[in-house]
């Protein structure tokens, strides 16, 4: 499989502290790769290395199957990026800011008007960025990242500082980029809900280590299911099941069966029915991805 981004054993240390440890990141073409991790996990450091802003302590980075160290400039001409807080020149207008970057990228001038329209800043194009709100500056940063119609778009916490409608807008925009422009997107966030709604693949980083990297479906599968039962006689049911060797979690108005296969659940229910206990509800309780994420990062801390 050909990857757009592939890092091997990527490590970055600051003094004794290892910010990123032997990272093997793989991003296939057309994916939206959600790069997830708590604050300070090393996401931004990784992204900075992918953009050649920082030199790795060891390991290699391949982007578009080219070595980043050797062909940095030709790679970056096909990459758009927004790193951390948006950078801009406050004394220039939005249009002038984009013009400063466009000139270096060599994109056509008309592209400025296009990207301003995409992020809905056309009305304030000729106003100085100094007076912009954080959300507007963030949009300007996204506009700048789109200037060269990149093949790989790298967005570090792109919805920071945006209001809810802005978040939805940007999410819709990012979602359609792979289909409409054939872009591959790397988007980092510390909010799982955000990645959950966008990403096709997820990488979870904690304390500089990649502890999970797979499709979002695979991550959802990790959401082990609980089955909750509401029955006519809860005490009796609990006792009967226990006698048969089935552990249940006794709660106020229901019994919880966790980590059972479909067959085991069927057997348990059939058994209860035979014992004349009426079944009112059999419900599946999915654990949220948020829980899985927390569990993953916690497990790593313990281990």
């Amino acid at each position: 499989m050909k990857y757009v981004v592939e890092t091997k054993n990527l490590t970055k240390s600051f003094g004794k502290e290892q910010a990123v440890q032997s990272l093997d990141m793989k991003i296939a073409k057309g994916e939206i790769y959600g790069f997830l991790g708590p604050n300070g996990a090393g996401k931004t450091t990784t992204i900075r290395m992918l953009l050649g802003l920082m030199k790795p302590t060891s390991g290699s980075i391949q982007v578009f199957q080219q070595d980043l160290k050797k062909s940095r400039i030709s790679i970056l001409s096909k990459v758009g990026s927004l790193v951390e807080n948006p950078s801009y020149y406050p004394h220039l207008t939005a249009r002038e800011n984009l013009e400063a970057w466009r000139k270096i990228l060599g994109a056509p001038k008309s592209r400025i008007t296009d990207v301003l329209a995409i992020v809905r800043l056309s009305d304030v194009a000729n106003k100085k960025v100094k007076g912009f709100s954080l959300g507007m500056k963030q949009r300007l940063g996204i506009a700048a990242a789109l200037l060269n119609n990149p093949e790989l778009l790298i967005l570090d916490e792109p919805t920071n500082g945006l209001d809810p409608s802005g978040i939805i807008e940007i999410r819709e925009l990012i979602k359609q980029l792979p289909q409409s422009h054939g872009m591959t997107v790397l988007i980092s966030s510390h909010l799982l809900s955000e990645i959950d709604q966008l990403a096709t693949t997820v990488g979870v980083l904690t304390k500089g280590k990649l502890i999970f990297q797979d499709s979002i479906e695979a991550m959802r599968k990790l959401a082990k299911q609980n089955i909750s039962l509401r029955v006519s006689d809860q005490d009796e049911a609990h006792r009967l099941l226990l006698a048969k060797g089935i552990q249940t979690d006794y709660q106020k108005d229901r019994l919880i069966l966790s980590e059972f296969t479909d067959e085991e659940i069927a057997n348990a229910i059939q058994f209860l029915v035979q014992k004349q206990i009426a079944i009112y509800r059999v419900e599946e309780e999915k654990r949220s991805l948020e829980d899985i994420f927390l569990q993953m990062t916690r497990e790593d801390q313990v281990g």
């Binding site: 900075r48 953009l51 050649g52 802003l53 920082m54 030199k55 940095r72 400039i73 030709s74 790679i75 970056l76 001409s77 990459v79 990026s81 790193v83 951390e84 807080n85 948006p86 950078s87 801009y88 020149y89 406050p90 004394h91 220039l92 002038e96 013009e99 400063a100 970057w101 000139k103 270096i104 990228l105 060599g106 940063g141 700048a144």
Partner: protein, 235 residues
Amino acid sequence: MIRKLIQVEFLKSKRKGFWLLVFLGGFGVVALQMVNYGVRKEYLLQQSDNDWIYYLMNISNFTPLALVLGIAILTSFMTSIENETNAWKQLIALPVSKLTVYLAKFTVLAFMLLVASLLLTLFTYGYGVFLDLGAIPYGALLKYSFYPFFASLPILALQLWIATVSNNQAIPITTGVIGVLPSFSAQNLPDWLIWKWPSLMNSWNEPIYYVWLGLGVGCLLYFVGMFDFARRDVK
């Protein structure tokens, strides 16, 4: 690529007051002599046989001061454009080489100083003619206007280096201001001190030596600064 980057640097220097400073640098030095000659012209004309050269000497007393101060201010303005919102990362993540970025900044700064030197020539010439000092020594006029520019290139290279790699902008300002001090007492200082060079005073009595030294050491410090900038991780 370098041409585009230089255009971008000029675009970014808009509304920052660079050109006002350039004008004030050239004009200010002559303006001091306007006051001087306005108040006591008769006395000053009695001081020497060659009124033009004496007038040029008076002007060149203040040229180094203006140059060194101008360099400190312009370089710190130049890097503040990127430092203000940490735009270095945005700029360096574009398909450009860091060496070219540095070269563009240096070129624009050197160009501004050159324009200031040209303005100095024009104002010196204009006021000299107004004072009616006799035959105009064009050679000396150009020498005292442009030699200090070349002699100050090492200071420019050093200041740009310090300003681009410092996290704390108080550092380049401090070195810049300290650099101004030697221009007050140039004759007492050793010849190797680069801050003395714009005054053109040396023990060989050959101002042109400082032009060659300025170009040579300027290049050297420029390359050291450029490679150090390229070597470092972007903030």
